[in-house]
């Protein structure tokens, strides 16, 4: 049986370990696990030739829903009804329901989540202690803090300009959600007319521009990749960085031993109507291809991987949150305490379903953001451009539509 994974901050050694354990449990099965940071480049030809792997985590560079709608993904409905490994429940009930819903279409479950990434702001704890700064909770506090940091000739905030999602997930969407509530965001995801022009988005854009104009974003970040901006943070040239919960894992080989960082929710608007505990939640999408040679084994193996015991192990080893609920007492690495706490405390989670449904729209939003950030567009023009792209997507009959319920 063959398993193809996206090779990212968590590596694939855990999956390989699971494979070995599974093989011991089922001696007639051999599992080949492999991974690649651009695994989709190798998956596309495999799907095209009708010889896909048995289980895969395709990553973000492939249009998964296009696969689903072309009948290339195995519906997992039946398998989910089976009992889970290690607990007295059906497999389907071990997942966090809202995260399972993401992969559902037309009544069938196609994409299954495994680990959960969340997003927030990391700050240089030692630097903050030295200067007596406290992490900001509100936008107002953020502005004051940035002014103080700037005086010390340190860049207050940096992010990966080459990957605008860091900005979108780190503050643009959270600020819109804070200003107008999660409904504003979900209306936009549903491509409702005028949704992307909502005053909440406009306010968020204006705040981004205000921060930029005041010089609170690191110069040159537009040319930085994820790891580059993270290096700037580690080297101490930037004090805060919006980043995912994978930061520690991704940079573990270069983090200096005396460096301390802590995780906070991104600052929100004090007078905002949105839920201040709302956290970003993006589950990894795993799928079993329709033309897989061994869909049953693949499904069973995945069921093993997502059993609460293995999930707990993954959490403790890799420091990643999981989409499997009720893990009981977990011993998280210290840097994951806060992310886990915030996710557990969150009254609601928000995700980026639209970017998986409409990749072309996502591309346009990212490009528009870059132009906006570099001041080629005013905040008004920026939201207008996004709205236009959303309209084109909505009115294009060849693009299948999805809805957040």
């Amino acid at each position: 049986m063959e398993v193809a994974c996206f090779l990212g901050g968590y590596g694939i050694d855990f999956f390989e370990q699971c494979a070995r354990e599974y093989e011991k449990m089922h001696p007639h099965v051999t599992i080949n696990v492999w991974g690649n940071p651009r695994v989709w480049e190798q998956l596309i030809p495999r799907f095209a030739s009708g010889t896909p792997p048995d289980l895969c985590w395709p990553g973000w560079g492939i249009n998964k829903w296009s696969l689903v709608l072309n009948g290339q993904v195995y519906p997992m409905g039946e398998h989910l009804q089976q009992p889970a490994y290690g607990v007295d429940k059906k497999w389907i009930d071990t997942f966090v329901p809202s995260l399972l819903e993401v992969g559902r279409y037309d009544g069938h479950y196609y994409l299954l989540p495994h680990n959960l990434d969340t997003f927030g702001w990391w700050y240089n704890e030692r630097l903050f202690e030295e200067h007596g700064w406290s992490p900001p909770r509100t936008y107002g506090q953020l502005l004051e803090l940035c002014e103080a940091i700037k005086k010390e000739h340190i860049a207050p905030v940096t992010f990966a300009g080459r990957a605008p999602v860091y900005a979108l997930w780190g503050f643009f969407f959270p600020w819109a959600i804070s200003a107008g509530g999660i409904e504003v965001y979900n209306r936009a995801q549903n491509l409702e007319p005028g949704a992307w022009k909502d005053p909440a988005f406009l306010k968020a854009a204006r705040c981004v521009m205000e921060m930029k104009r005041r010089g609170y974003f690191q110069g040159g970040l537009v040319g930085m990749s994820g790891t580059e901006s993270q290096m700037e943070f580690l080297v101490g040239r930037a004090a805060m960085i919006p980043c995912g919960s994978w930061l520690h894992n991704e940079m573990k080989d270069v983090i200096p031993s005396d460096f301390r960082m802590e995780f906070i929710r991104g600052p929100v608007f004090e007078e905002g109507v949105g839920d201040p505990t709302c956290m970003f939640g993006d589950g990894s999408d795993w799928l079993v291809p329709a033309k897989a040679k061994h869909p049953d084994v693949a499904s069973d193996f995945f069921r093993y991987m997502t059993s609460p015991d293995k999930a707990r192990e993954f959490l403790e080893q890799k420091g990643s949150l999981m989409c499997i609920a009720d893990l009981g007492e977990v011993k998280v690495p210290s840097y994951m305490e806060k992310p886990l706490q915030f996710v557990n405390q969150a009254k609601s989670l928000w995700g980026i379903e639209y970017s998986v449904w409409y990749p072309e729209l996502e591309t346009e939003i990212q490009n528009a953001f870059i132009d906006f950030y570099c001041e080629l567009l005013t905040p008004e023009e920026f939201v207008e451009r996004v709205e236009k792209a959303a309209t084109i997507t909505r009115e294009d009959p060849s693009i299948p539509k999805f809805k957040i319920k």
């Binding site: 690649n36 940071p37 651009r38 190798q42 095209a48 994820g226 290096m231 700037e232 991704e250 270069v254």
Partner: protein, 281 residues
């Protein structure tokens, strides 16, 4: 007189400034690449301008082994040498037939091959992808070699056509009188005489294949089988995930050295070939 001398000195100074300036522009990034490849990631970020304190040769072994560059190097060698051999053979045969025999459609076929140099390759990439999928040649070395042959025939045919055309006919006749088969005429008489053309075409094709990226990206993306350019590109994106800039610089240096070295060795032929190809055309 003095004005002329002064003007000459100024113009000489300008000339050397121009040449030297461009020379610097060419060499400086390459030298920087070399020196930075011997630094560790931390100092690359902290002090980009400082020369390495200790030479981190480990970067190179990391790039070669865990980056898999050794394998990619080998893949490139295999694919390119096999493709080169096939290309030269097939092109020589076709050029010979076109240059030395009169038959209906000769001109049309010749221009058909030539047009290949002008058409953008990417136009055909989608149907080619589908074709290779149907033939089960996707992600195989054989598949990529086949594509390389098809796409690199035009230039050698063009060069060899010119060579074969100018070879005197009496040699062929003499050989035939001696009882040589027409194929033998080709193989034993004409082909050796066209050696300079073969060498020129061969060098160009090899360098072109060694550096080729888009086709290899689409048709041979499987990790273990990747050619060097594809491997380096994907390594860049990998290393970015694993934040090992030192090894990344080393990998890049590894990829640059072979062709630069090879070119320096054969630079006279290459320079001659470049101009021949254009001037003749």
């Amino acid at each position: 007189m003095r004005r002329i001398v002064a003007a000459r000195t100024v113009s000489r100074a300008c000339r050397y400034a121009l040449l030297g300036g461009h020379g610097l522009l060419v060499l400086f990034p390459m030298l920087w690449l070399l020196t930075t490849s011997l630094k560790d990631t931390w100092s690359i970020f902290k002090d980009p301008w400082k020369l390495p304190e200790t030479l981190q040769w480990v970067n190179y072994s990391k790039a070669w082994i865990s980056g898999g560059l050794g394998w990619k190097f080998w893949n490139s060698m295999v694919v390119d040498l096999v493709a080169l051999t096939v290309i030269l053979l097939v092109a020589a045969m076709a050029a010979y037939a076109l240059a030395r025999f009169k038959f209906p459609g000769n001109r049309v076929i010749y221009y058909l091959f030539l047009s290949g140099m002008a058409l953008p390759v990417f136009l055909a990439i989608v149907p080619l992808f589908m074709l290779m999928t149907d033939l089960h040649l996707l992600n195989t070395r054989v598949g990529l070699i086949t594509i390389y042959v098809a796409y690199m025939l035009s230039f050698p045919i063009f060069i060899l056509y010119g060579f074969f055309k100018t070879l005197p006919g009496e040699l062929a006749e003499a050989a035939l009188i001696d009882g040589c088969t027409p194929f033998g005429v080709f193989w034993r008489v004409m082909l050796p005489l066209a050696k300079p053309g073969l060498v020129t075409a061969g060098i160009f094709v090899f360098i072109g294949l060694w550096n080729e990226y888009p086709l290899a990206l689409v048709f041979l993306s499987k990790g273990e089988l990747q050619t060097l350019p594809v491997g380096i590109a994907s390594l860049t994106m990998t290393q970015r995930y694993q934040a090992d800039w030192g090894a990344l610089f080393a990998a890049l240096t590894i990829s640059v050295i072979p062709t630069v070295f090879f070119y320096t060795l054969f630079q006279r032929q290459i320079q001659a070939g470049l101009t021949a190809g254009a001037v003749k055309g």
